[in-house]
Assembly symmetry: D2
Homo-oligomer: 388 residues x 4
C-alpha cells in the first residue's frame, strides 16, 4: 500500500527515524574498554526517566513480561503472597503470572474501565495484620482499557497502615509518557519496556529497582538465573552485562534518552496530555461515543479506548481501518473484545499524525455503518487544541 502506515496501537509505537538510525550500527565487542561508556549512558540516563536517585535501572534482553517475572522471582520467596487489582487484560496477565510462578494472589476484582481502587487496596492492607502480603502490585496504566491508576495514592495507603510490603508498579505503557516518580512514591520495582514511551523496538525489558528491592533479592530463595538482579547489578557496576547485550538496542536507547532530554521530560508529559485531550474530545464531543474509562480520574494519557455502539463489531472497524486506510488500531482484548477499539497516543507523535488516525477511524466507522458526522472527531480535536 502506498504511503505510511498509521501506527496507533498502544505499542509498539512509532520508532523515530533518528532512533532507527542510531540503531543501525555495526556490532562491537561487548567486553571492550569502550563499552562501559555506553552502559553508563543508558543506565544513568534512565535515572531521571524513573525519577530516581538511589534506584538501579536495569536492562534485560526481554519484553516487559520478563521484567514482571524478574520482579517476582527476585523479590519474593516461593509461595509468598501478593496483592493486586485486576481491571484489564494486562493486570490480569500479571496476576496470572503470579499464580503460575507459585505465588499466592490476593486479587481485587475491579470493573474494567476503572483504575486501581485505592480504598480496596487500603482495606486489604489494613486487614493484613500479619503482613503476609509481601508485595503490592499496581498497573499504572492499563493498556487494555485506557485507564490510569494513582500510584502515589497506593503508596499513601500502604504508609497509612505502615505496611512493609514492596510496591511493584507496571509502568509499561506509562513510563516516559506520563509522570512516574520512583523515589517520591517509594516504588520498589518499576517494570517497563522499550516499545512504548521510549519509542524503541520491542526487545528490551527496562526495569528499575530500589535499594530495598536489591537487598531483599539477596535473601530470597525463589529460583532464577537469567533474570537475577544481583548478577546483573554486579556486571553493570563494571559497565558490562552477564551475557551479550544488544549494542544496537542500547544505542537506540541512548538516542531515545537524548531525545527525551532535548524535549524535556515534563514537556513530553504535557504533550501526551495535550494530545490525549484532543483524542478524547474527538470521541466524546465529535463522535458522541463513550470511552471505556468511566470517569475523568481514570482517563489515560497514552491510550484511548473507544466503545463502539451496540450492534457494531469493533473488530470489524479495526479490520476496515487496517485493510482500507492503512491505519493500525488496538483491539479490545478478552472481556471487551469486539466492544471497543483503542487509539494509542504514546511516544513520538504530534497533532497531525493523530488527526490522521482520528480521520481514519471516522472513515472506518462510517464504512461499517456507525452514525457519525464526517470530520466531527477531527473538528473536536482541532478545537480542543486551538483553545487558548
Amino acid at each position: 500500500m502506498a504511503g505510511r502506515n498509521f501506527l496507533f496501537v498502544p505499542g509498539p509505537t512509532n520508532v523515530p527515524d533518528r532512533i532507527l538510525r542510531a540503531m543501525s550500527v555495526a556490532s562491537e565487542d561487548h567486553r571492550s574498554p569502550d563499552f562501559p561508556a555506553l552502559t553508563r549512558a543508558c543506565l544513568d540516563g534512565l535515572k531521571p526517566i524513573f525519577k530516581t536517585v538511589t534506584g538501579y535501572p536495569l536492562l534485560f534482553p526481554s519484553s516487559g513480561t520478563g521484567c514482571w517475572e524478574a520482579a517476582l522471582t527476585n523479590c519474593l520467596d516461593p509461595g509468598a503472597k501478593v496483592l493486586i487489582a485486576r481491571f484489564g487484560q494486562f493486570s490480569h496477565l500479571w496476576a496470572d503470572m503470579c499464580r503460575r510462578l507459585g505465588f499466592e494472589v490476593e486479587l481485587i476484582e475491579t470493573a474494567w474501565g476503572e483504575g486501581a481502587p485505592v480504598d480496596k487496596y487500603l482495606a486489604a492492607l489494613e486487614s493484613d495484620r500479619s503482613h503476609s502480603i509481601k508485595a503490592v502490585l499496581v498497573c499504572q496504566n492499563e493498556t487494555a482499557t485506557g485507564v490510569r491508576s494513582d500510584v502515589a495514592a497506593i503508596r499513601r495507603a500502604m504508609d497509612s497502615v505502615k505496611h512493609p510490603a514492596l510496591l511493584m508498579v507496571d509502568s509499561v505503557s506509562a513510563l516516559a509518557s506520563v509522570d512516574f516518580r520512583m523515589d517520591e512514591w517509594g516504588v520498589d520495582v518499576c517494570i517497563s519496556g522499550s516499545q512504548k514511551g521510549l519509542m524503541l523496538p520491542a526487545g528490551l525489558g527496562i526495569t528499575c529497582i530500589s535499594r530495598r528491592a536489591f537487598e531483599t533479592a539477596k535473601h530470597t530463595s525463589s529460583r532464577r538465573c537469567y533474570f537475577d538482579y544481583g548478577e546483573m547489578i554486579q556486571a553493570n557496576t563494571a559497565g558490562y552485562f552477564p551475557y551479550t547485550p544488544s549494542l544496537q538496542m542500547m544505542c537506540a536507547l541512548r538516542e531515545s534518552l537524548a531525545m527525551l532530554a532535548e524535549e524535556g521530560l515534563e514537556n513530553v508529559f504535557r504533550r501526551h496530555s495535550y494530545l490525549a485531550g484532543g483524542a478524547r474530545a474527538a470521541v466524546m464531543q465529535g463522535w458522541k461515543l463513550k470511552l471505556c474509562a468511566v470517569a475523568p480520574q481514570w482517563y489515560s494519557d497514552t491510550v484511548t479506548a473507544v466503545m463502539v455502539p451496540d450492534g457494531i463489531n469493533a473488530a470489524a472497524v479495526i479490520n476496515r481501518a487496517y485493510t482500507r486506510y492503512n491505519l493500525s488500531l488496538g483491539a479490545g482484548l478478552s472481556k471487551v473484545a469486539g466492544k471497543l477499539f483503542r487509539i494509542g497516543h504514546v511516544g513520538d507523535l504530534n497533532e497531525l499524525m493523530l488527526l490522521g488516525a482520528i480521520a481514519g477511524s471516522e472513515m472506518a466507522m462510517m464504512d461499517l455503518g456507525v452514525n457519525i458526522e464526517p470530520g466531527s472527531g477531527v473538528a473536536a480535536a482541532q478545537t480542543y487544541w486551538r483553545k487558548p
Copy 2:
C-alpha cells in the same frame, strides 16, 4: 518537534523508507563487471515509466534544471528559436534559461492558472512557415500554479501543420504520477527529476530522448560537455557512465521502479487522481476557497494551489503550518507570492497522510483568521473518497 514532519511541498516528496534503505549501501567500483546490471536495471526500468520503446532514458547527476539545459544545448544550434508558453514560475524559468543560453524565445504569455494554450501554440506554429522554430517547449504540469497541460494536443497541433520542430516536455512534477507517453505523443525530450513522482532524494536529473533528438544532437554546434547526450549514451551502452555515477541513487531508483511496478503504473496514476480529487473537494466544497487553476481542464493531479481570501497573507499561513503544526506547504512564487499556498500530493501518499495535511492547513488558516469551519476540508475529502 515530536512526531513526523508532514511534507506537502510538491517536491521533494516523501522518500519511502524502503527507498531510503535501498540507498543506504556501501559504495562500489563503478567500473566493475557487475556494475552494468545496475545501469541496465535503471535505464531499462525507466522505459515503461516514460512509455517509450525507442527512446533513451538518461541519468545525469544534476537537478531537473540541468536536464532543461541538456535538452537545449544538445538539440539546438546556437541562437536557434524555441516556442514556449509561460504560465507559472517553472515555465518562466525554463524560458529564461533559453534566453540566458542565447536562444531566441517566442513566448506565449498565458494567464497563471491556465495550462499551455494549444490554440496559441497552433497559431504560432502555423505562422512559422520557414520553420524557424526548432523546438516546442511545454510544461506538462506547472508546479507553481497546480495546472496541467495537454501534451498530446500540442503534438496534434504540430502535426496538423506538419511542423518539424522537436517537442520538449518538462514533466518534472508529472512523470510517474500522471500519464506521460513519450512514443505515442511524439515527444523528443522529456525532462524530469528524481525528487517528485519517483520518490527519491533530489540529485538525479532523469530525462528521456527520442532517436530523432539523439540524431539531431550529433550535428548541433552548441557547446556542452558535462551534459553531452552522445557521450552519455555511448558509455551507457556498455553499462557505464562518462563520470562517476551515484551508486546509492541508482540503487534508490531501482527500488523506486520496483515499487511502481508492484503497485502498477496505471494504479499509481489512479491513486494520484483519487487523492487529488479529495484535496480539491477539501478546498472547494469544504473550505469554500478557490483553486489557482481556473477550470477543471487545468486541474493538476499532483499539486493543488489554494487561493487564500483577500486580506490573508498565504506566506503567514505556510509559516504557521510549519512552525506550529510541523506541516510543510508550498509557497506562492513570484506573481502569486502571498496569494496562494500549495499542497503537493505527489509520490508516496495515502488518504490519512493527506487528511493530516488538510487538517493542518485548516488549523493554520483558522489561526490566521481565515473563516472556515473546523473539519470541513477533512469531511469533504472523506466524503469524496467514500463515494461508491
Copy 3:
C-alpha cells in the same frame, strides 16, 4: 579512529549491511493479520538451519543464556539430575546455572582444550541404571577454548545404553556455521542465539525443541512463565507471540535466513571450515604458536584460541590490537585468562577480512615482544587458501 573496526570476537559477529537494512524498519502492529506471515517465515525458515522436520524452532526475546534456562525449567522437574561436561567458560556457566536453578549436576571435569569426552559420558550413562539423569547437556562448540564436540557420538553413547534422558545441546557458536542435525542426532533441545552464525545483533534467543521435549514440558512442575514453551508454541501456531516480539529482529532474521539460503547452508559450512583452516595455518605454520585445542579432532571451525608464549600477557596483546589497530580479539576467560587470545571466524566473513585480523594480530604481538616473523601468519593463510 578512521576506518572500520575489525570485529573478531567470536560473537557478536559482523552484521551484514543487508541485515542492518532489513532491521531498519518502522514498527508494526504485532497483532495485525499480516504479522503471521513474518512469524512463519522466521520459524519455518529456521527448520533447515536446525535440520529438523518435526521440531519446533522458537524465538525468545533474550540472549542464549535465557534459552539455557528455558531448556532446564521447561523440561525438568525441580531437583532433577543433569549430566554435563565442563571444559571451558561457557560449559561451566551452563553447569553453574543448573545448580543455581536447583538441579543436581553430575559434572564431568574435562581438560580445557578438549571437547566433550564421549567415553566419560558413556560411563556415566551406563552406570546410571536407575535413569536418574534426566538430561544430557553438551556444548557443541566451546567458545572459550575453540574446541568442538561430537554431538552425534554423544547420541550414539546414549543409544548404546538405551538411556532415556533428553539430549540438550548448546550450539550458540556453532549453529548456521558448522553442521548441526537436530533430527538425525536426536537432539531434544538445541540452544542458540542471534549474534553468531546468524549474523544478527544480540537479543534474540533462538532455540529448537523436539516433540519429545514439548511433550515432556507439559508435565514438568518447574516454575516458569516468560520462557514457557507451551504458551509460546500455542501463540506461534496462530502466527503470534505471547508478548510483544521485536519486529525489527524478526525482519533481520528473515533476511539472515535468505542470505544463508542463497549461499547454501553446506557452502556456509565449507566456507567456515576453509577460513578456519587458514587461521590455524597462520597460528601454527606462520607464527609457530600453539592452539588451545590440543588435537585436530577438537579444532573449532568458528573460533581459534591462540596460546601466547610464556612471559607474554595475552590481555596486553588484545588491548594493543584494539587500541592501536582497531582490531577486536576475544580474551581468555577464567582459567585461561591472559594465556590466550581468540580469533572468531564466524558469520559474515571472507579471506581478506580474516587476513586483516591475522596481520593485525601479528603487529600487536610483535609490538608486545612476541618473536614472530612479519607477514608469516598472513603468508601461511594465503598459502593454505591458494592450495589447489
Copy 4:
C-alpha cells in the same frame, strides 16, 4: 559473496557507516526557514577544508566533471586560451573538455608518471607576454598514475613572471586527504567531488572559487546557466539554492565535515601519508615491483599505481582480485591500460583494511603467475608502520 567488499579503487571511496546513517533522512522542504542552517553548515564547514577565508565554496548537484565545466564557462570568455599539462587520463580529459567547449588549449605534454612540470609552466607563462593565457590549469593529484603536483610551485612560477591568469586546480582526489591551500596558494578555482576524501557517495560537485574568480565570472560571456556561479552564490547567501538541492547529500556532507574536524585535518593528512608509505613499501620493498610514479617527489598519498611485470596483464590481476577475493582495485586507463593496477588509499581507511587489500593483491598476482613472496607486501607495510 560472503563478507565485505574491499573497495580500493581511488574513488568512490568507502562511505563510513556514520555518513550513511546521516544520509538516511526524510526529505524536507528546501525552502523552509530551517534550511539555511544546513546550507551554512555545509558551506562554512568547507572553508577550512579548502583553507580559505575569502573564497566561496559551492555545491553543484553534479560530478567533479561538472565543476571542471563550471570553472571554464564561468571564468572564461568564448575561445579564451588555457595552459594545462597532460600526464594522465584525468588531466587529459580536462584538457579535452576545454577543447570541446571551444577554448584554446596550450598543452604541455608530460610523461605519465611525472606531475605538473613547473619549469615548462614557467616557460610557457614567461613567453606569453601578451597574457593571452587566461587560465592556468593544474591537476594536483593525477588519479590515473598516482602522481601529485606542486601547486604552490605553479603559483610561484606565475607570480615570478607576474602572469595575471586565473589558477584552476583539480583537487578531486586530493582535497581533504592531502594538503590544499586555496588562499595561500592563490588558487582561483578549486574543483573537487564528494566521493573521494570527503567519503561521500558520488553526486555532489564540490568547488571553491576566489573573489577574483567570482568577479571575473560577472563579466564573461560564455553561455552557462545550470552551473552559473553568480546565481548560485546569490541563492546561497540567503541559505538556499537556485534549484532543489539534495538534503540527503548535504546531511552526509555535514557529517563528513564533523568527522574530519574530530580527527583534525592535519591528522587526516598525516594518516594518508602514513598509509601511503606502507602501500609503497609493500610494492617496492615487499613485491620488488615499480610504481608508475617515477620519483619520490611525484608519489601520491592517495593512490598507488603498481606496474605489473612484463608479460602480465594488469587487467587480469584486477579481475582475479575482484572475482575471487572480493577486492576492487583500480585499472590502468588509456595509455597505461593493462600495465598497472591502482590501490586507492583515500578516505576512511586504516592499516588493517589496507593490509587486507595488500594481501589480496598478492594473492591475485600470485594466482596470475607474478613471482612474489607470499606475505611479502604485508610484511613490508607492517614494518614501515611499526617503525618508531
